[in-house]
């Protein structure tokens, strides 16, 4: 049986403890993050505010000229609701010179430039604010590689990286994320009218159930087909997971010496803390 229901109280407790622990142990008490108005960054924002106190959290809105106004308004509603610190940094002036430099610029490239520009803003502000950058990637997008490497995937911590999108929705309800944010169609908002599910070609509800079998329950793809998932859908998802694995790991180092980072020089990041 596929049941993705989570205990939201327990989830919040574990993640809030994780945020506090991972910041405090390296001498930080503040966090910042990009807040798009979407559900993932909303959940990351609410968790950060609960874990660290709203005064220790900086929410940054980083609209591009095509960003939708209602998304910006949703972000503002949440900022006001929580009482976190906030800032708006327009990225159009940073993005357009590069986008306009090339005649063959594509939607995808421009989208990646926007995501990476936001990364630059966040990591720059992390120094000014003396905080760590919180990620907003969920398990579904990490597994599917539905992100821009070194862009929206860049963060110091990934608090919701082990929750499927369906579970993020449940947690959002528990945390008090506004219903408008929970209900709207997920979108990277990199171009007008973009939706995740439109671009991916399947719904989160379906792919989460499939990923749960493939990843958590270690089903073979063939068995998922027997369980009623369409063969082409299963194959597409398996291929996506494999092809995008490079986004989930550090770049491989060519091994030459007796002791090489990543192979036989092995420490947790929390080494000594």
């Amino acid at each position: 049986m596929i049941d993705l229901t989570i205990n939201a109280v327990l989830t919040e407790k574990i993640i809030a403890g994780f945020i506090r622990s991972e910041l405090h142990r390296v001498g930080f008490k503040r966090a910042l993050l990009g807040v798009s108005g979407g559900i993932d960054s909303a959940v990351s924002l609410y968790l950060s505010a609960k874990a660290l106190g709203p005064e220790n959290v900086l929410a940054i809105r980083m609209p591009y000229k095509t960003s939708s106004q209602h998304t910006l308004d949703d972000a503002q509603t949440m900022i006001d609701d929580l009482g976190v610190q906030s800032m708006t940094v327009e990225i159009t002036d940073m993005v357009d010179p590069l986008v306009n430099k090339f005649d063959d610029m594509t939607k995808i490239r421009a989208g990646n430039i926007m995501a990476r520009t936001r990364m630059i803003v966040l990591f720059d502000q992390s120094v000014a604010f003396n905080g760590l950058v919180m990620g907003s990637s969920n398990k579904t997008e990490l597994l599917l590689g539905y992100s821009t490497i070194f862009g929206d995937s860049a963060a110091a911590l990934q608090p919701i990286g082990d929750l499927y999108k369906t579970q993020v929705r449940q947690l959002a309800g528990h945390l008090g994320v506004p219903q408008a944010v929970i209900a709207k169609a997920p979108s990277a908002d990199l171009w007008e009218g973009q939706t995740d599910e439109g671009e991916l070609g399947f719904t989160y509800a379906d792919v989460d159930r499939l990923l749960y079998l493939l990843v958590d329950q270690r089903y073979r793809p063939e068995t998922c087909v027997e369980e009623g998932f369409e063969r082409t859908f299963v194959e597409r998802v398996v291929r996506r997971m494999r092809q995008n694995h490079f986004k989930r790991v550090m770049p491989p180092i060519a091994k030459l010496s007796e002791r090489t980072i990543g192979y036989d020089f092995l420490y947790l990041r929390d080494w000594g803390t």
Binding site: N7, F265, W271
Partner: protein, 283 residues
């Protein structure tokens, strides 16, 4: 006989033995003030859990010549201690170990036998497995120690029981996992079921100290427990929060439970031995 056991459910600093030693000494002091006779620390309490390459740097020799070990020996003059450390043996093999100290002396050292090396675990890569399991005598009777994965193998608690242990002392650094609708993680529920089962099946006390805190993304869920020989829960520390829980247990419960339920008396070691030999001969 009634004794007070302190469960030292705390968080460690990864790879920092001096800092962890200090926490041990503070908790031992607090337990002493609370009248504890025995303090039980979690697995690898002197070092932290996911050591990887730090394993060799944090290893100590369980001997009074070692300054860290010697401090704990000194602290055990007036109450008994069980704690976890990386044990570098005479041949320079590194073990995950628990030591039991009493009256300033080492009473027993257990090297973890089952090193989980699957899924999220990689202990077999960094540590040598222990190869013996023994009960030993204390001033509270005969006890046995096991470390985490050791007691996921029913044979080890069973052997300790047959070897005379009336109290099983379990230490863990158990990473929490298995999020469902339940208010506790599946890993917490599973460990607690297992410990309750051992207490009931062996009509023994089962004492379990588990740590709290985080190492990278791993959470350690705490929830340390003591079960009595009826399999009833005597105490449970909170999940995820550090706590020093001091609880009195009545060792006379062994008499009462075993008078009612003579499972130990009726255990047929000869049958077990004969069938094990047959099974081993067949395989």
């Amino acid at each position: 006989m009634k004794i007070k056991i302190a469960l030292a459910q705390f968080n460690t600093k990864l790879g920092d033995v001096p800092a962890n030693l200090e926490k041990h000494l503070d908790l031992i002091d607090e337990a002493r003030q609370g009248g504890a006779d025995l303090v039980v620390f979690p697995e690898l309490s002197l070092t932290g859990y996911a050591l990887l390459d730090l394993a060799v740097d944090t290893a100590i020799r369980p001997h009074q010549d070692d300054p860290v070990f010697n401090e704990l020996l000194a602290a055990s003059q007036d109450l008994d201690l069980m704690f976890g450390f990386v044990h570098e043996d005479r041949r320079h093999r590194f073990h995950i170990a628990s030591a039991y100290l009493s009256g300033g002396k080492t009473r027993h050292i257990h090297n973890k036998i089952y090193l989980p090396t699957y899924g999220m675990f990689d202990e077999g890569r960094f540590f040598a497995p222990g190869d013996s399991v023994r009960a030993f005598d204390t001033r509270f009777g005969r006890v046995g120690m096991l470390i985490c994965e050791d007691f996921w193998h029913a044979s080890l608690p069973y052997l300790l029981w047959l070897d005379g242990a009336d109290m099983l002392l379990f230490a863990s650094a158990s990473p929490g996992r298995g999020l469902t609708q339940d208010p506790r993680l599946s890993s917490s529920g599973w460990v607690e079921h297992t410990n309750r089962a051992y207490a009931g099946l062996f009509t023994n006390f089962v004492v379990h100290a588990n740590r709290v805190g985080y190492e990278d993304g791993l959470n350690f869920w705490g929830g340390s427990t003591i079960f009595d020989p009826n399999g009833d829960l005597i105490v449970r520390a909170p999940d995820f929060e550090p706590a020093l829980i001091i609880t009195e247990i009545d060792l006379n419960q062994l008499h009462r439970t075993r008078a009612r339920l003579p499972l130990l008396r009726d255990e047929r070691i000869g049958v077990v031995q004969r069938e094990l030999e047959r099974i081993q001969g067949n395989s």
